[in-house]
């Protein structure tokens, strides 16, 4: 028996050989080592036989010699099946759409995992992530970069010290370090409260300890305000002094404000262009025209496309053109003074604690010099002046 595997793989044809000397044709095929098989007779002048596709050319001379003609009856074997499949439109479009589908799906967010967060924080984090666009089914190339995400999320969640954003394939991992909100612990060590800066005491509020000063007292830095010793001299006891002492303090700031300054600002007008990158070459697909505005800054963000787990040299580029405008600001002297006051107020607040209150503001003097206004401002501020110092028992 013949093995049919080989025939199937190399592909063969059933042909009809028509002629008076078909036996001669068979003999010549055998003589010239052209394999033929499954020969059967149809009628007096016709036989049916199988032949390798590749041998069709080789039988031509023998056909001529024996004055036979052939008709191809059937094509069999995988090569023909394969050809048929490949050349059929449906199959081809199926393959293409399948690849496209995988391509699209490979570039989507499929899951979001959060590590190291309590359920509550995890929920909040997921909400923030969703606001930023990170949700199931979003296209990865439309999302901000990991660093941006990280920054935005860390900023917008108070409960979080740090969040690490990692993307592996179509999954986003958020590694969260949660803030350990310190529990209010009582001061364990005995301590005094002393003045931090020179001030006039305006208000004293003591929780524990012995007050050493009165309101309207002038104190110098280091002066004892609330003592950690309580009780009579013989039975004195050490406690951690607790309390708040407010005092009036003075600051002098020097600010210089240029009368005329130029700077660039964004006008808010923007144009977005999209391009597809291929091996570093970018082909714009949207937004061909030149921007309508003459001055602009460009922000480019690029994401590589992926196919399953591999990165392919195709990328998606978003180019944002933001219109900028050069603004010249000119102050009159009065305006400059106002600006100076604002700047110095901000400066003062950053130097003192949040609870500080500006009591009085006085411009000591100002002068215009080289297009700048130099201003000296005196501030009276009410702020907390207490500072803890531990009591170290010498003996």
């Amino acid at each position: 028996m013949k093995e049919y595997i080989k025939e199937l793989f190399s592909g063969y044809v059933r042909i009809k050989v028509i002629g008076s000397y078909t036996e001669l044709f068979i003999n010549r095929c055998i003589e010239y080592n052209i394999p033929i098989w499954d020969i059967s007779r149809v009628d007096n002048e016709t036989i049916l036989l199988s032949l390798y596709t590749t041998d069709i050319k080789r039988i031509r001379p023998h056909l001529k010699r024996t004055r036979c003609k052939i008709r191809i009856n059937e094509r069999k074997g995988f090569p023909f099946i394969f050809k048929k499949i490949v050349y059929s439109r449906g199959f081809l479009s199926g393959v293409i759409s399948c690849i496209l589908l995988i391509l699209i799906l490979s570039n989507m967010v499929w899951s979001i995992t959060v590590n190291g967060a309590t359920p509550e924080v995890e929920h909040k984090l997921k909400q923030v992530a969703e606001e930023l666009g990170v949700k199931k089914g979003a296209f990865i190339f439309q999302l901000p970069s990991n660093q941006e995400l990280q920054q935005e999320m860390t900023e917008s969640l108070k409960e979080i010290t740090w969040v690490g954003v990692k993307r592996s394939g179509s999954t986003y991992h958020f590694e969260v370090v949660q803030k350990q909100l310190p529990e209010k612990q009582p001061a364990l060590n005995a301590r005094h409260i002393v003045a931090d800066k020179k001030a006039i005491i305006t208000k004293i509020y003591v929780e524990e300890g012995q007050v050493q000063v009165k309101e309207n007292d002038y104190v110098k830095p280091g002066q004892l305000l609330i003592s950690g010793f309580i009780g009579k001299e013989e039975k004195s006891e050490l406690v951690p002094a607790r309390g708040e002492v407010y005092g009036k303090t003075w600051y002098i700031t020097n600010v210089s404000i240029p009368l005329k300054s130029t700077f660039e600002t964004n006008t808010g007008e923007r144009e977005t262009k999209y391009a597809v990158g291929f091996f570093g070459f970018h082909l714009p697909i949207w937004g061909f025209s030149k921007p309508e505005f003459p001055r602009y800054e460009t922000i480019i963000s690029e994401t590589n496309l992926r196919f399953l787990k591999w990165e392919i040299p195709l990328s998606f580029q978003t180019k944002a053109l933001l219109e900028t405008k050069e603004v010249t600001r000119e102050y009159t002297e009065k305006e400059a003074l106002q600006a100076a006051s604002q700047v110095s107020r901000e400066d003062i607040i950053s130097k003192t604690s949040e609870k500080a209150e500006i009591k009085e503001e006085k411009i000591l003097h100002h002068e215009v010099e080289n297009g700048k206004v130099n201003v000296k401002i005196h501030y009276e501020i009410i702020e907390e002046i207490g500072k803890d110092i531990p009591i170290i028992q010498g003996d």
Binding site: I26, S40, R41
Partner: protein, 96 residues
């Protein structure tokens, strides 16, 4: 001369117990019931039809008769014929 050679060959076959088909170019025919017939050492196809197959042999012809013949395999010296075999007979080469 030829006859002398033939005699020598048949004598050798008998004496040395060599297979006759190898030494004397005789056909070796294997049949499986009426279904298959397998012929080695043929010299070509003379006639092939659904009811009759004639094969050329070294000296003479082999005539196979039956129904629904199909040449399953055909190689330079072998033939596998399928169908319903009814009749196998030898035709001697006409002596001249």
């Amino acid at each position: 001369m030829a006859k002398w050679k033939h005699n020598l060959k048949s004598w050798l076959t008998r004496r040395l117990e060599l297979p006759a088909d190898a030494v004397m170019d005789l056909p070796r025919i294997t049949m499986v019931g009426q279904l298959h017939i397998y012929i080695e050492n043929h010299q070509g196809v003379l006639k092939f039809s659904n009811e009759e197959v004639r094969l050329l042999l070294k000296n003479g012809q082999l005539v196979i008769k039956g129904e629904d013949f199909m040449l399953k395999t055909i190689l330079p010296e072998e033939i596998l014929l399928e169908g319903k075999i009814e009749h196998v007979s030898y035709l001697d080469k006409p002596q001249n």
